[in-house]
Amino acid sequence: MARTAELAQNGHVRHALNQNNVKNIATTKNGFHNKVVKNGTSTGTRPQRRGEDSFEQAPMHVAVLTYIGFGIVTLFGYFRDFLRAVGLEKCHVAQERDEQKDFVPLYQDFENFYTRNLYMRVRDNWNRPICSVPGPVFDLMERVTDDYNWTYRLTGKTIKNVINMGSYNYLGFAENNADFLQTVADKLSKYGAGVCGTRQELGNLSIHEELEQLVAEFLGVESSLTFGMGFATNSMNIPALVGKGCLILSDELNHASLVLGARLSAATIRVFKHNNMQSLEKLLREAVSSGQPRTHRPWKKILILVEGIYSMEGSLVRLPEIIALKKKYKAYLFLDEAHSIGAVGPSGRGVVEHFGVDPRDVDVLMGTFTKSFGAAGGYIAGKKELVDYLRTYSHSAVYGSAMSPPITEQIIRAMKCIMGADGTKEGHQRVQQLVENVRYFRSRLQEMGFIIYGNVDSPVIPLLLYLPGKVVAFSRTMLQKNIGVVVVGFPATPITEARARFCVSAAHTRPMLDKVLQALNETGDLLRVKFSRHRPSLRPALYDETDYELDS
C-alpha cells in the first residue's frame, strides 16, 4: 500500500533466484582494479560482536487472516470495477476520450487494479502535507476527503507538534536553529542557491572540493566523489563500474536504486538470500568454477552489492564475513551505507566502524547525505583511481547538475559536528543520544510484546502489523494521538508482512519517546497487534541454517 514516492525512497523490488553454473578466475580485464587489493593492516581492535538480528514469525492464524482480508477486498474490487464498467458508478481514473476508444488502449486498466481498489481507499495515510521542518516534532496540515480519498481539501487548520517517528533524522540535523545554520546562510549569500551546470561544465565549486576532502577524511579512505541525488548515485554509477560479462551478486532485499543500477548495467545478476553467507558462498563458488553461462569464459568482474542497514528490516549486514568471502574468492564489494552512515558506529562512521573493519577492504563505499546529515545527495568513496575513473565515466557525475551550495555547506557543517572538528562535543553527544534512544525504544517495544525486526543497534525499527485493516487503523489511531508514523505494505513489503516503521532520532527526548511508547501500548491493546510469543529475549537469527550443500 505504499505509494511511488515511498517506493522510490524505500521500495524493495524482489527478484527470483537464478541458479546457473558459471566459471570465473579472478582476472580483471579493463577493471578499475588491476592489482590485488592488499590487505589493510588491521586496526588492532577485534571486530565488535554484532547483536543478532531477529525475524520472529507470526502465529499461523495471522497469515491466514491476512490472506482472507486481501481476498475479501479483492472481491469487492472486482465488484466495483464491474460497476464502473457498466456505468453505475463514476470512474475517477484516467480514461481515453471517446474518439480514441477504437485505438490501442492507452491506460492499462487492470495493471492499476491494486492502486484503484485498495490503495485509493486508504491513501489518506500517505503523502500527508507537512508545514514545518521535519524535526522531532512537526506541524501537519489537516485535510479531509468527501469522496473516499479520491480528492482532498485542506480545512486550513494545522495540527501542531505531531511527534515525528518517520523521518530519517537519525542525528537530528533536520533543524532550523539559526545559530547552527549561520554558516549555511553565509554560503548561500556567497554562492547563491543554484549552480546552473554540471561538475564538468563550470559547476565545480570550491565548496564541492572541500566537501569531497572532508568525506574522504571522515570515512578514512583516499578520495570521494559527491552527487546531487542519492538514488541517482546508485543507479548511475553501478553501470559505470560493471558491464556486460560481469556478475553482480545482490542481496535479496536490496533497495530499488541498487536493483535499477544493476539492471541498467547489463551485467548478469544473481540474488542471494538476505544476509545468508552460505547462499552467497555457494553462488561465489559456482561463479568462480563455472564462469559465464554458455561460453564458460571467466567473469570479468564479480561485484557483491549489499547495504549497511536494510531499511525495511532494520537488519545489519554481516560485514566481516562478506569481507572474508570477498578476499577468498577475489570479488569486489559495493557497500551502500544510506541508512547506516552517521547512525551506527561509536563515532558515527557507519557499519565499517561498527564492525572494526578496515575501510580499505571495502572497494566501493557509497552513502547518502539525505538521512543522517539532513541534506540531499550521495557520495562514492574509495581508492583514488576508482574515484578519478568515476569522475569521467559516471553518468551522474557528467550530466547531473552539481550539488547546491547551501546543501553542501549543511553537509560540511554536519560532518564537522559529528567528527568534533568544530570544537564542540555536540556531534559526540548526538551519536551517544541516538544509541541510547535506540536501545531504550527497542527494549521497551520488545517488552510490550510487539514483533520487531532487525538488529539491536539499528535505528530503523519495523513493527509488524500483518493485516491490511490493522495497518490502516494503526496509522489513523496514532495520528489521532498526535504521533506521525509511516506504515508500509504491499508492494514494498511481502504481502503478509505489512509493517509500521519507526525511525528513532537523536533529537527525540526521553519524554517524547515515553509518550510514543504509551500511545503504542494503548493502540496495541486496542487493535490487538501484540503478536510476539517470545518476551523478552530476542531469538537468534533465522538464517543460520546451512544452505550450502556439500557436493563432493
Binding site: L65, F70, I72, V73, R121, L467, K470, L527
Partner: protein
C-alpha cells in the same frame, strides 16, 4: 453501568471483526452488503443445523447400534427395540 460496558465491549468486538476481515477499508454501503451476506449465510447454517442435525444424529446412532446389535446372539430384543422408532420416524422424514 454494566449495560454501558457491555455495549462498549460489543462495539470493540465489532471493530475487531472489521479489522480482521479487512472490511474496515471499505465504504459503508459495501460493509452493509458484506454484513448482510455473512449474516444470511450464518442464519442458513444455523437453520440447517437446527433442523437436520438431530435427525442425522439419530439415524447414525440407529445405524451403528444396528451393526453392533447384529453381532450379538440375542438379536430379537434389539430388533424389537429399533423397530418402533424407525416406523415412527417415517412421517417426519417424508
Amino acid at each position: 453501568m454494566d449495560v454501558k460496558n457491555m455495549r462498549e465491549y460489543l462495539g470493540w468486538l465489532y471493530y475487531q471483526y472489521l479489522l480482521v476481515t479487512g472490511i474496515y477499508v471499505l465504504e459503508p454501503w459495501e460493509k452493509s452488503i458484506f454484513n448482510a451476506v455473512l449474516v444470511t449465510m450464518v442464519a442458513m447454517v444455523i437453520y440447517t443445523s437446527y433442523v437436520f442435525v438431530p435427525i442425522h444424529v439419530r439415524l447414525a446412532l440407529q445405524f451403528f447400534s444396528g451393526l453392533c446389535g447384529g453381532q450379538h446372539e440375542s438379536t430379537m430384543t434389539l430388533m424389537n427395540w429399533g423397530g418402533p422408532i424407525i416406523s415412527s420416524h417415517h412421517p417426519a422424514t417424508n
